[in-house]
């Protein structure tokens, strides 16, 4: 996508201006990483590694640094855990969590559509009973995709909605149940506890299901995304990240820190508001795209 070519062309440009590897060049690369939201710590780590590797391998030509940088970034994104959704066995329950406005409800619509296309039986649960017209929003997505939505009234208990949806999923022999939750900032204790309660309901009522808890992160978010991931991980068993809004000019570099520091794989990326605007996250592709090597 065009978002990532931003960094790419900049790296290329920088490498062309500097023929030889020197301190100023490292500083330029540092700037590129920082402006892609990689964060100070992660950027320092990358630059340190780059400097050491360059020395070790006696690299003096600026353009040879690119391969090294790619190696390092791929390595940061490579973790033991799979980048694929764990939905091969039926039933599966997916819980979408995240801060306000990140793209949870929209991503549910897109994910539901993909599964429906694969011939799976999908059910949605309107677990956001708080935000104005959140239930209506999910219902419109349900209609678009052609799947049912289990809902209660606005203001109802989220755990009760999820409970009902699980019973319904069992009765209807559903393959994938996707649950929406209200956006919440991670520093709100009571709201985070409520999420913990939902997690317990799922454990207790649906032990046979494989579980995905997806943290939805807005790619436009800066360093706070790291804090979000940390705290959500403490409360629920986050199994992956959905990185949304990558169709803008934000680079989503914060993902580097999240996968390397927190060991959470990115699984999906959102690249628009349409039903088809969801892609699998493939680390190698992501890094290649950073450098414009995928076309």
């Amino acid at each position: 996508t065009k978002t990532r070519q931003g960094i790419t062309s900049k790296v290329d440009q920088v490498l062309k201006t500097y023929k030889k590897v020197d301190e100023e060049l490292f500083e330029e690369i540092e700037e590129i990483l920082i402006t892609s939201d990689a964060g100070v710590n992660t950027t320092m780590e990358i630059i340190d590694r780059l400097r050491n590797l360059a020395k070790e391998r006696k690299i003096t030509e600026a353009e040879d640094l690119k391969g090294l940088l790619k190696e390092i970034l791929t390595d940061l994104l490579k973790i033991e855990k799979s980048n694929e959704l764990n939905v091969n066995s039926s039933p599966t329950i997916i819980l979408m969590v995240g801060v306000n406005g990140a793209g949870k409800t929209t991503s549910i619509g897109k994910i539901a559509y993909q599964f429906k296309e694969e011939g799976k039986k999908v059910l949605l649960a309107a677990g956001d009973t708080f935000r104005a017209a959140a239930i209506d929003q999910l219902e419109i997505w349900g209609n678009r995709v052609g799947v049912d939505v289990i809902k209660h009234q606005e203001g109802a208990d989220t755990a009760a909605v999820i409970y009902d949806a699980i019973q319904s999923a069992k009765a209807r022999k559903i393959d994938v149940l996707i649950c929406d939750t209200a956006g919440r900032l991670h520093n709100k204790k009571n709201l985070m506890n409520e999420l913990g309660k939902v997690g317990k309901i799922v454990e207790r009522e649906f032990p046979e299901a494989s579980k995905e808890v997806l943290l939805v992160l807005d790619a436009t978010t800066g360093q706070n995304a790291i804090q979000q991931a940390k705290v959500f991980k403490e409360v629920t068993d986050i199994t992956g990240v959905v990185l949304t809004k990558l169709d803008g000019t934000a680079k989503g570099g914060v993902v580097l820190g999240i996968s390397s520091e927190l060991d959470i794989p990115v699984k999906l990326i959102g690249v628009g508001e349409g039903i088809n605007d969801l892609q699998k996250f493939v680390p190698q592709d992501f890094v290649n795209a950073l450098f414009g090597d995928d076309n």
Binding site: D136, K188, T220, K245, T249, K251
Partner: protein
């Protein structure tokens, strides 16, 4: 986190200095590195940080360290003063048209908080004795109109909508006519979230602006936004000439460096901050509080004030 200990680090970097005397270039340089890292970690844009650091350096080098302060505190004081100055030293209020209705238009990226903030603003104006009308100008997002209607109902404020088949430009125009007929003296237009690089949708906003000539176009910005805040603000401002900014979700634990970035590139005031999901949670913006929040050193500052 880097910034947690900024005050300590500054003290450390400058501890060799006695509490009297002048700050040298070398001392200041060391201290500025810590400040730079803290600002970057708070999501202030890279270029904005660079300019800022240069400005502070100029002022700090050669500055007399006051007797009551250690050099570290002194640098913090300078940094804070410059940061506050950059943020706008006074509170900036909403303006009203001499020929009602006063029209406000809320614009911004997807999910920033426009619809919620539109409601909050309506509620705030209502308590001021105004008779606001909310206009549902988002015809794209699923249930956006319903969302505004629910918000309006909670606040007991009328909502004007024409469904999602009429162009937002025409809806806005009809909304103003409706306000005229129903003696609503304030009109708040909700618009769909859009990317600053989406030419068609940016043109749409320009068309609304030309048609209804709003008193203020307010850019709604998520306080958690990272480095890209400058691109977003720059583009919206270029295209529309915004009049102010509303910073949302400041009830989170983000440092909110986006505030500084947006302010620096647009030179437009931040007028309000969103402090929660509830419709009453809108507050006036305080430049000084924001400055110490970004650097994470409110306590240090109150100590300095007492000294």
């Amino acid at each position: 986190m880097v910034f947690e200990g900024l005050a300590d680090k500054l003290q450390g970097a400058l501890k060799k200095l006695k509490s009297k005397g002048k700050l040298t270039e070398k001392d200041v340089k060391e201290a500025m590195r810590e400040v730079k890292l803290a600002l970057l970690e708070a999501d202030v844009n890279f270029k904005v940080v660079k300019d800022f650091i240069n400005k502070v350096k100029e002022r700090a080098i050669g500055a007399e360290v006051m007797e009551s302060l250690t050099p570290g505190q002194h640098v913090i004081k300078i940094v804070n003063e410059e940061l506050t100055a950059l943020m706008g030293t006074t509170q900036s209020k909403l303006t009203f048209s001499s020929k009602p209705p006063t029209v406000y238009m809320l614009v911004g990226l997807q999910g920033a908080g426009k619809t919620t903030t539109g409601g909050k603003l309506g509620g705030y104006l209502k308590t001021m004795g105004k008779r606001p009308l909310l206009v549902a100008g988002d015809i794209y997002r699923p249930a956006a109109i319903k969302q505004l209607q629910v918000v309006g109902k909670q606040l007991d404020i009328p909502v004007f909508s024409m469904g999602d088949k009429i162009s937002p430009v025409n809806i806005a125009k009809a909304g103003i006519e409706h306000a005229n007929q129903h003696s609503n003296d304030v009109v708040i237009i909700d618009t769909a979230g859009r990317l600053h690089i989406d030419e068609n949708l940016m043109d749409e906003l320009e068309d609304i602006k030309k048609t209804v000539n709003p008193q203020e176009i307010l850019l709604v910005v998520d306080a958690m936004t990272g480095q890209d805040a400058v691109n977003v603000a720059e583009r919206f401002n270029e295209k529309l000439g915004i009049d102010g900014v509303i910073l949302t979700k400041l009830d989170g634990d983000t440092r909110g460096g986006a505030a500084l970035s947006v302010r620096a590139v647009t030179q437009k005031p931040i007028k309000f901050v969103g402090m929660g999901e509830k419709l009453s949670e809108l507050e006036a913006f305080h430049p000084d509080r924001m400055a110490s929040r970004i650097l994470g050193m409110g306590d240090v500052l109150s100590l300095i004030e007492k000294a």
